[in-house]
Amino acid sequence: MWKTVNTGAARAEEALKQFLPPCQLKCPINEDIQRTNVLISMLPLDPEGAREGICQIGDYLHERNPLFTVCGYVCGLCELECNYQAKGGSIRRRLLKRFISDAYMDRIREKEEINVEKTKEDVAIVGGGPAGLMCAYDLSRRGYRVTIFETSDRLGGALWLIPHYRLPEDVLTTAVNNLVRICEADVKYNARIGEGKYSLDKLRKDGFKAVFIAKGTPMPRILTYGREKVEGQELSGVMYGQTFLYEVSHGNIQPNYFGGKKIIVIGGGNVAFDVARTARRLCGETTLVCLECEDKCSKDGIPADEEEIKGAWEEGVQIVYSRGVRRIMGKGGKFQRIECPHCASVFDETGFNPVFDSTDIVNIDGDVLMITVGQGPDRSFLQKENLLDDRGRLAVDPLTLQSLNKDWVFIGGDVRKIGFMVEAMHEGLVAAESIERHLRGLDMRAGRKREYEPQDIPFRRIYKHEPEVVWIPPEKRLHFQLFERGFTLKEAIEEAKRCARCGPCVSCKACLAIGIQHSLPVVEVNEETCSGCGICTSICYYGSAQWRFKDGGTVSTTDTFRCKACGMCVVACPSQARRMIGDPMDTRIQEVFSTLGA
């Protein structure tokens, strides 16, 4: 079995021009996707033997991203930019990561605490969601003493709103609890910063030299029509989707809770679909009403993911497109029906500005109405702590996440800008870097923004088709167990092999890590002997061998950022103008040939 050696070398190094594989560019925390794909593809075929390799890959991933086990269930942003997308379907990186994650669960519980002496300042982190946790982890690694103040009685923040059929509870609890255990961060539960005596200034007085605020977006957005609030949102039977998901995840709602009831969900985002599918699993007859139309390519297309829509449809959620809600009607304080005018257009040049057609109105009856039209930050807290600007927006530097009003306060995650889980995690890392720079008196901005170009897909003869994702059939999946089947070892190896390895060697170095190569060779062109014929440019799969005009003729060159040192051009060159530097093959050939004894 190979042993990976992590010398910390596989990272995007600073350079004038730098390529990265598009998946790594798309990933907000720039995970080494190609590297792990290569490592998975080289696992032993027997499950016993593979376990050790999987743990090594897991260790490597965990070091960069202690929440990777969760990402393996819910993220998959990298797949959106995969070069393979147009050639047979993106590499299913999320399932590959889930494969590692499933096998890594036991290991994560045994992982030792980080061995760093915490001699630096105290830092307070407000909010124990993905952003706060990542910030805590990174700062702890740097030697800061971190305390997380969490409003509720458990860590994870908005991740708890993801239904368990997509993210199993033990995956989440294992990831977050072990994260704080490993980085030895102090956690204060039920600590409502901003309420009562717990102000930010109090934290400062208590000795915290910097504060990172990642309180997320706990406030559901109220339903509006035109600019007006829709009346009737206080009726019994009307609730907000986030509150509902929160209660379900806490186990406060019995199975069959909605048995025989008609549920109406308002909203067209992924959260609305989570609500609808959860309600369906609680035996409710569910209808989802959204402003947007069913054509995802149109400007007014529904924002939820294709997979969510398909899943909901299969499970029997009725979806009503292009309808707004003008009135919520009830009788005796109890919700009865909504009045839905047709929505002719959702977005215009100014952004969200729905136009309704009041001649086309339908009424939809129901017993429960769940409003899931977005969520926002706790503005009163931000106001009270003087973190907003004159126009009521968050006063924060988007590059450093430092508050413009209080230089010891940093703000990031959903509270600054709603996004995916991994985007919040990225902000946690940015804040950690900023806090370090702030407390060490370093330049806050120098060298923080790097430009990368995505690398094109290499040319090859055969592109393989993506594997089917296996879901439990809809009639059998109306429960809160996982409905998606993960990869087996064989499938994972097959899928990892499909990866075209577009990225440059410097950002991967998987071959060095497992000892297949000892250094990355470089191809050198001797311009004296190069005839400029261009055979190398036609054989190169990576667009690295290129022509260049010189003294009225052409010579070939090698773009070292693109070059993988496969040696195909060296072999193809008819005038032997190309050679590989740092390649042990020639020495080895000489050694072996000398023993043949001709």
Partner: protein, 141 residues
Amino acid sequence: MTTFEPKIVCFSCNFGWGYLTDPEVREMQIKHWIPVVCSGKIDATHILKAFRSGADGVLILGCVDGDCHFQDGNYQTRKKVQLLQRVLPSFGIDPRRVRIELSLDPEGNSIRKIVEDMGRDLRPMGPLGMKEISAKPVATR
């Protein structure tokens, strides 16, 4: 001639063959073993040079078609080998002395057997440069 043991140079791709085993162990098992990062790096000149240096056969082990780490290196080599096999007889070399195998063996335990099999096939031919050249004189114009 019964004691003749053909000397077989074995090139093997690191991404498909024996990457789970220590190279030192592998080296002890296989004589004249040259691990390469991609079979696509092997040129006809390497093969001919092996013959010139005294090899009786050349074995190339590459990845499964379509699974090359460097896109299509194995395909390029297979192409070269097949072309070379067409040319070799005119130089008095039996084309069976060059063999390419595109397959996968992470443990690399089968390499030894493949080399032995090839050795068994080559044994009746005798050492390179004896039988073939006398049996089939090169046609010249």
